[in-house]
Amino acid sequence: MEEDDYFPNPDEEFEMMYADELEMMNEMDDDLDDRTLVQKPAPPTVRRSLNFCGSPTSEDKGNSKSASVLASTQNNLDDLPISSTAPDNSSSSRKRTIDDIFGDIDDIELEEASEKHGQPLKRSCKQLSVDPSFFLDEDLGFDSAQDKELELIDRINALRRKAFLEFNEGRSAASPANLKLKESNTLTKGVPKWPFVSVTSELGERVYVRIRSDEYIEEEVEKVSHKGDSCGLLRGRFSALKNEALSILEKKQQLEIEANAADIAALIPSEDGSRNTQVDTDNLWVVKYKPSGYAELLSEESVNRTLLHWLKLWDKVVFNRERKPQIKPKEDKKENRFQKKPFGQVMTDELDEQGRPQYKMVLLCGPPGLGKTTLAHMVAKLAGYNVVEVNASDDRSPEAFYTQLQAATQMKAVMGKDPKPNCLVMDEIDGAPAPSIETLIKFVLGKDVGKGRGKKKGSAAGILKRPVICICNDAYVPALRSLRQHAFVLHFPPTGSERLASRLMTIARKQRIKTDMGAMLALCEKTQNDIRSCLSLLHYFKSQSKPVRLSDVHQSNVGLKDVQKGLFSVWQEIFQIQRSKGGFTQAANDASRTSNVDNRTPDVKKGDSAIAYRIQRVLRTVQSHGDYNRLIQGVFENYLHMRLRDSSLNGLVKGLDWFSTTDLINTEIMTSQNYILMPYMAYAFPVWHILFGGLAWPKINYPNTAYEVSVKQGHTKQILAEMVKGMSPSVRVNCNESQLVSEILPLLLEILVPNFRPVSLQLYSLHEKKELSNLISVMIDYNLTYVQERTPEGTYVCNMDPNIEEVVYFGGSKPSRQLTYGTKQLVAREIDMEKMRRFELLSVSGQKNETLAPGKAQDKTQVPNNSDSDNTSEKVSPTVPNHLQKLKAKPVIKDMQTKDFFGRIVEIPLTPSTVKARSEAELKGDIWFHFKEGFNNAVRKTIRISDLL
């Protein structure tokens, strides 16, 4: 019983129950008293007296035989007048007597009933030492013999006596005064007229108890039992009630049985389909056959255990419970066994200062359908937690995430019947945004350090005190990178095929699906041990309501998982012929073709089917991957490493033909966005598989050659572009890039290495000087120069600046002739000089052009300007209001006209020399500096850079 579990000490519990019982009984008594008070003047005494004198009744029983004879005659005489004159009274009195005898019986009755209903009154009944057989007798319904009745009365009295002895003795110890008060037909103080038995009380009072005939008693009992409603204590007749109670009990039992039957029916479906479908619609099988206990978990035991162990480590901080020392050595042993396993991290039993395990989180990762979520829930429940799940369907923005975290880890359900601490399960965490995961990590760790947001609220309260389990499919999602460092990563290995298959078999048996182990194994293989999809497939087969055979599993198109394999595994699939696993897949094919197996050519058939299977397999793998271009590139760069059997190279040609075909298709797709052609690309892979596939393990390299080549190409292009950018336009016109690469540059490099003696420039002969100047002009035209560079060895080399040597020379080939280091330096210097010279030439010629034009203009405008400059300024000034006028610099009159004393302009005769000087000054540029003119009489001379060079 439940109560037993709650209260380990049965005695205490009994006391409590007993107290209740006492209370209830007291209440009953009071109730009875009240009722009797209402109905008659002095009932309690009557009852008590009867109770009190239980022994006389037993006496009464003893001499019943003698008394009954007397009573039979007397009774009739008595009864008739009483009943006729005062029916009410008589009935009440009669009732009273019966009440007195049986009045309290419903205490017992109730108790008994309650016991039968499984209520906790049982113990009190036991206490009263009620014999169940007594009630069994009662079930017979009072139609038994008289002595049975007597026995009944006797027992009731005995019970009551006992009860009173126990309950009421101390309290209302049956005061003699009360006893004297009784006034009834049954007991009289005086000597009655009817047959009696005299009883003397302890106090010496003599009481006469009336002896009734057996018939009378029987009648009375009958009356009481048939009394019905007027009684008020019982709703109906006792036996009716009894029956009712029994029927209720029976019904309950029936219901229970029915429920069980339904359960059983659910487990073992009957033949008729209607019932089945009804059951099936209730639940998905995935839900229905969810493991109900730890032992039923399909995931690998070590993982389960590790997770449970980790959760148990939290016990100290969560439940404030030390780990039991006697278990410890055992667990340590287990732990050691685990530690041998190649986990990335090793979980230790050590707790930190807060009593928490080293890792605050566990990250469960594995492909879908292995039961990660189920495991997390199961284990958390087992460890006594209330699971709070946060999955992808919830709002996982950082703020919402944080509130959820806080709610789950720092609060506790109080409303439930048994509040348990929370355990946070973060499902599908790989889909959560990175900031949310950051929040999680901060929450888990930041508190630990004491820097987190929680510190504001309080030091100890902020610490994470609840376990957090994170679940993901792919642990290597970039967002989880930091999480992986802080969490204990548990990789979920795929479920064993055999284990899964046997479970599927049990389920199939329960569902009455006719199948065999082989089919189930095939199913597991097909779904790659995904429990969920296995069950769905099985469900699907069930709905078809026919036996599931191996061929069905193979042929069905449903349930094929679009599992995207990694690039390498796809390539491997292409290059490696899968050996049939113990004839398993082979058998499948054979089985499907058993009908048309030809005895003559079984090998051919077999081979054919194998090839068909291989083609299917490769095609499916490739199609599910989808990135055809990269796959093609991978095949292209690896196929030549495979061992090719044919010496005629025909296979090679065929394969390459497919390569170029796929390229054509791809180009067409890319240029015209005609994606309808996309599916056709996949068909090249089976061809390659047939042509190049081998049984040996293929060593596959990642295809990066094409990428490297394109990088190099880009580099070359960059060099060329750099070169072209600075080329002189006249040269540039006559060479485009392809010509540069293929024709000009290779020979240009040969031309740019004239023979120079390794001597100083000054010692060069005229011819050499000419050569040099030619070389330099060519190099400038083509925007080339030499640059000093430091090699890793520490020596200096001169390289061409846009390094066209790289463009021109292949592999190991080196230029046949090269200029010496010194010459290159010399050339580089000369190039710089020449460039400066040219630049100056250009600027000087530009200057001339520019200065000429404004000079002329100035001459033209100067004349009128001078004449009416005064007038214009005077004219302008009045138009502008005073406050808006601004200070303006007075126009400087360039030609200071010399005036004589009277203000008349003195005409200076223009000498030709001054005119020439002025025009020259105007021609030669805008600004002239006269350095310390007038103080220095040193010879001034214009020196150009060209003169210096």
Binding site: F636, E743, I751
Partner: protein, 355 residues
């Protein structure tokens, strides 16, 4: 003072060394003051560009030679920004649309429109139209060519197009019909020899005839290559000698080695090696067509007569695929493998025949 190629380039139509009839015709064409769109085509190194430059000079005078390089920013419809390098004078603009890769259509549309829509400001300028020179038209995408053809008609009053290409086969008929085709054939061997000798004479050297012939042979009637070779010979040994071997471009040497290795052995391993070499060539930006051509030439030269036709056919097939597809190496390797297969079979058969 520059390379002989540039130094001895004729500047006007009357100074051209060969195809003088054609030069005269062009001169007459220009004399009228107007001319249709031109499509100048011919093999590399035949003097197409020289001819066009001369034509422009004839048209606008020496002002055409004042060239400047500009980079024109162009925004594609997808929002990508490109810089296209142009060479222009006051009278003409020259552009290589294939620089822009797949966006050549935008370049053609933008540039041609821009230059065509602006009229010559100076009424004293000789012509009321500008010239747009488009080079490497054969690598122009079909889209761009289609974009071009309407523009050509629309702006015919303000702009003339001169298209330069190696062959007309990749120019769409619509454009071909809108242009006056001018074929510039490669100079004959004698013409090249005379030009080489003339150049050497001006340089104060004497060119032995044997060497000149060798150069012509090696240059494959490519005048530019011939002149460059000649100059490189001069750099090698100053008084030119008969025995001198003209230097070949490095990639040609490399390609020849590759062809030799294909002939040497036919196996997947060898194919792998050949692929490496082809990749090397591609990474040096050698156009794949040139690789194809060079390879085929080398391979065919060593083949039996019966094989030649087959090999050439295969080469044509795969070369065509190169143009259709985008990954050249696939087709190149496919060709090499095909050749290996054919050659191997032939060799085995002939060995069997011998016994």
């Amino acid at each position: 003072m520059s390379l002989w190629v540039d130094k001895y380039r004729p500047k006007s139509l009357s100074l051209l060394d060969y195809h003088k009839d054609q030069a005269n015709q062009l001169k007459n064409l220009v004399k009228q003051g107007d001319f249709p769109h031109l499509l100048v085509y011919g093999p590399s190194g035949a003097g197409k560009k020289t001819r066009v430059t001369c034509l422009l000079r004839e048209l606008y005078g020496p002002g055409v030679e004042k060239l400047r390089m500009e980079s024109v920013p162009i925004t594609t419809p997808s929002g990508k920004k490109l810089d296209i390098k142009t060479i222009s004078s006051n009278y003409h603009i020259e552009v290589n649309p294939s620089d822009a890769g797949i966006y050549d259509r935008c370049v053609v549309m933008e540039l041609v429109k821009n230059s065509a829509q602006t009229h010559q400001l100076d009424p004293t300028g000789q012509r009321d139209f500008k010239v747009v020179v488009l080079t490497e038209v054969d690598s122009l995408s079909v889209d761009a060519q289609h974009a071009l053809r309407r523009t050509m008609e629309k702006y015919v009053s303000t702009c003339r197009l001169i298209l330069i290409s190696n062959s007309t086969s990749r120019v769409i008929p619509a454009i071909r019909s809108r242009c006056l085709g001018v074929r510039v054939a490669a100079p004959t061997q004698d013409q090249i020899i005379s030009i080489l000798q003339m150049a050497c004479k001006k340089e104060g050297l004497s060119l032995p005839l044997d060497l000149a012939k060798k150069i012509v042979d090696k240059s494959e009637r490519n005048l530019r290559l011939a002149l460059l070779m000649c100059e490189s010979c001069k750099v090698q040994e100053t008084p030119l000698k008969e025995k001198q071997e003209p230097i070949l471009p490095q990639w040609q040497v490399f390609l020849k080695d590759t062809a030799r290795s294909i002939m040497h052995e036919q196996s997947p391993k060898q194919l792998m090696e050949v692929r490496g070499r082809l990749y090397e060539l591609l990474s040096h930006n050698i156009p794949i067509q040139i690789i194809f051509k060079g390879l085929l030439k080398e391979l065919v030269s060593n083949c039996d007569m019966k094989l030649k036709a087959v090999v050439v056919e295969e080469a044509a097939f795969f070369e065509h695929r190169v143009h259709q597809g985008s990954k050249g190496i696939f087709h190149l390797e496919a060709f090499v493998a095909k050749f290996m297969c054919i050659y191997k079979k032939f060799m085995e058969d002939s060995v069997i025949d011998m016994f």
